[in-house]
Symmetry: C3
Subunit: 395 residues, 3 copies
């Protein structure tokens, strides 16, 4: 009994290993159909090899990086507003100071000195009477179209200027007219140094934008230029603005935002040192071209206060800062040979290959005049059970 079992298993195994199935096929000698079929098959082959493998590199898997960006500005600005000379260095014109990947360089400002909290009259807006009427209405109308400059005390000096009294940081800021040209036009010559490290966790590869050949000596003297120095990580602000399609004078006046894109597209099947960053620049907001009057919110500004104590009283210097905001955006994709996408591409390619035969069969079996003949060649029909037994009886 046991022997029988054993010999059965041995037989099955030897059958399994010593024979294999291969489909029986009809070689159809029909020029028109064959040409159609071959052309489809060649197309599929060209698609798989040319497009999927060579062009789209379908034999590779891909991964994006995690990274870290560090920036440092250099340069000193000088302003001379009505005889008052001022110096602006990095600690004064960069927000935030610590060198983040997103920061603002001040290019223009409206300074309101010596503000303290007290009751004063609202600022008479520049449109004149029309607005002073609005101010007048405010006391009665709860919905203010303009944000108020302080906390309404309820008193309104109707008989004199028709303005209301507010508890506010007085004197209130007068931002009716923006200095033109921008006060810190010298920002055009400031330089920005970018340090960017990325890591592709899936491949264990770490790269820094100070690639091979970018040493201390080179960095001391270089300046980014898309053609002559595309790997120099030091950028002149004026160049950045120009490469983003802005006009420096215009953006310096009202502010704007620029995206600095560091593009890492790495083919890790090649040498790591070929994995180099490509810098590109584009305007994010405040682009004067797209700033048709219908679209909203031109420029970029924010308010910033320096507090101090004078005569035992808290005061502040309020700065309405107009500036260029830089967002450093790291885009990264690394690709490397991987067996799974390769075999998936081949496997699904084989599947599509089969579609060619299906299409030609449709032509052969349904469209050709001799379809009956081909049908008989291709198909062999098992009679239904009943008929078969009948046949066998007859035989």
């Amino acid at each position: 009994m046991r022997n029988k079992m054993k010999s059965f298993i041995t037989n099955t195994l030897s059958d399994f290993f010593f024979e294999y199935e291969t489909p029986r096929q009809v070689l159809v000698r029909n020029r028109r159909v064959a040409v159609v079929c071959r052309l489809i098959q060649l197309g599929v082959l060209a698609y798989i090899i040319g497009w999927v493998f060579i062009y789209e590199k379908g034999y590779q898997s891909s991964d994006t990086a995690v990274g870290s960006v560090l920036t440092k500005m250099k340069g000193v600005g000088y302003t001379n507003v009505t005889g008052e000379e001022r110096i602006w260095d990095v600690a004064d014109y960069v927000f935030p100071v610590q060198g983040d990947s997103s920061f603002v360089v001040m290019t223009n400002y409206i300074m309101t000195k010596g503000q303290k909290i007290e009751k004063c009259s609202e600022l008479l807006l520049h449109v004149g009477k029309a607005i002073s009427l609005v101010s007048f209405l405010r006391v009665f109308v709860p919905l203010h179209p303009t944000p108020p400059q302080g906390h309404m005390t309820g008193k309104c000096l109707v008989n004199t200027t028709k303005m209301c009294e507010v508890l506010a940081w007085c004197p209130v800021e007068d931002d009716g007219s923006i200095p033109d040209p921008a006060l810190l036009m010298s920002a055009e010559n400031f330089t920005l140094f970018i340090k960017n490290t990325i890591n592709f966790p899936a491949y264990g590869v770490t790269r820094c934008n100070l690639v091979e050949g970018i040493d201390n000596q080179y960095i001391k003297s270089c300046l980014y230029d898309p053609k002559t120095a595309p790997l120099c990580p030091i950028f002149r602000l004026g160049d950045l603005v120009q490469m983003s399609g802005f006009n420096f004078a215009a953006i310096a006046k009202v502010g704007g935002a620029i995206g600095i894109i560091i593009d890492w597209t790495c083919n890790l099947d090649h040498d790591q040192s070929d994995c180099k960053p490509i810098y590109s620049f584009h305007g994010l907001y405040g682009n004067p071209d797209e700033a048709d009057t219908a679209r909203a919110s031109v420029g970029y500004n924010f308010r910033y206060a320096k507090h101090y104590m004078e005569d035992k009283q808290e005061k502040r210097t309020l700065l309405k800062v107009f500036g260029i905001r830089f967002d450093i955006i790291v885009r990264s994709v690394a690709r490397k040979f991987d067996i799974i996408p390769t075999l998936t591409a081949i496997g699904s390619g084989v599947g599509i290959f089969g579609v060619a035969t299906v299409v030609c069969d449709l032509i052969l079996l349904y469209l050709l005049p001799k379809r009956e003949f081909y049908n008989n060649m291709k198909f062999k029909v098992t009679e239904t059970m009943e008929k078969v037994s009948l046949h066998q009886t007859v035989a």
Copy 2:
């Protein structure tokens, strides 16, 4: 010789182009097996067309965006703490000031004025005697459970209050009781303006949350509402808090964090202008529902100091700021028709299609009573080499 070669190649080529192979098949006329097979095939077809193509849009490739976010708060707060009126404007209550995608709006604070560096006694904590004992022990025990408030001088005033002397910013902050209700409850009416630009590099598409129809005029008067104004980029703080499932009074008191998610799910096979942001809001930390006493770290606060000089001495005003932290998170995915996923889906679909036949063959060849008969129909056996030669000899 050369002619022969030539004619050989011509023949092979003409053979290749003028004939094609198509598998010979058995048409099995067996109702039960056929129905099983057809149902499987229909299922596969329904899955490929219905699920992969229509529901999951498997004919599209996808890409995520890189983007940039800019924010601007508006509103003025007013506090009246023991008769001292104060005004809080944007420069005072937003951290950081420059309008980042992650920022904090102060809603409550503990202010400690006029701190200077000197030696003073540690603060008697509110638990009273139990803690003053701890302070007493600190001198001898190196591991402090509570972080100390300054640098221990080594002197401990054992005979009087049992507290130790520290070199610290004195007077030390007393954060034992948090103002309740929050001092800046008026923050509820502040508004937040969000500007978000995204770029799908793979498709060269740039979109801004100020989409078509959201012009300067509209922005001036609109306020976000999930139903009536889902595209207005101006949000009332009270609404944001409520939509995140918080109670404003509670979160304003101890602080918390809210995620504002801007969801861009774009089908770029349609018109670009259909690619619109969807805003959603959810609590990140400090959610009072999940703040069972066992879970850690309720609320959100940080310390912030304003330094000044008084009588030639450096002093500071320390603020323990309780606030709502907003993290603006951009989620994006764009999809567009692409030939590779389409053909991969079709190709692997053809593969799965083949599985139907394999399943039915298993039934046909192993389970049916007439399996011998079907076996003979389907398979034609080549005898092993030896036998074959034998047969041939016999013949």
Copy 3:
């Protein structure tokens, strides 16, 4: 007519449902070819089941998370510079104060007190005469290798020290020698608390790094340790620096950057509570190992100013801050069973399976001595149209 149509459709439908095609196959009984074929097929099967499904979990789809990070430092620093004792608390040594995912902890500084804007002489650099010559040349040479410290007035004190006069924040900072050892070496004992919430939108799963079992009680006493407390979210700065491969004394002196990576790799087919963060640490910049003299830009520093008013004049205290920058980087991937990748893997697997037969057929039909015989077994040739008609006529 209508009946005919109806019966035609019924017949076609019943044909379609009650019969199915299965390919006719040759069972090739040839040991060598069969073994090759079977081994290829077994290899494909092992690859699909073992590699794609079990190892790479090809039956799962994957998604990355969006998240939010919140940090809080604790600890008090103490410095004693030439008899002047100072206390540094969180509001003084963390930039920015509000607990972002990227922040700097000051460890060393060069403080320049009492700067005001006036005209003064440039600082004599430490290289002495060589540099004073450079200063002299500056007036004539427009390209400055070193950034100037202020706005040149044009006057140069040639006869005395050969330095030029600048309008600047005077006295100008003397950053020639960095304090060694670092002034805030006590930063080693500061602690960092990290709170991180992530959300996998595709699966609707939200996780926080305060996972199950990490309660208030535990957090109060725990300290991260890779072996004994890998889930404690409180980190000692000295440990962080050491685990990143730095030497604390060295990095504290000149500054550096450390990446704290929170890795969420979650298999959501298991219980959510198994989805736990793994912390890892690595140096981003300023790694002394890679800082060979040829590579650029060692250390990390920035300038920061505290403004104040003294005798009606604006003054500032300038700090050149050397510090450790921490970037908290969240890496996340969640995987969950999904029908589409499963069926795509199976489908393309079936395709690759077919390749085995193709390879063996090539051997069988082109390489074996008996290839003619097998050719006849496998292929049945339809004569070209002309010949066929001829045959038929003959018959």
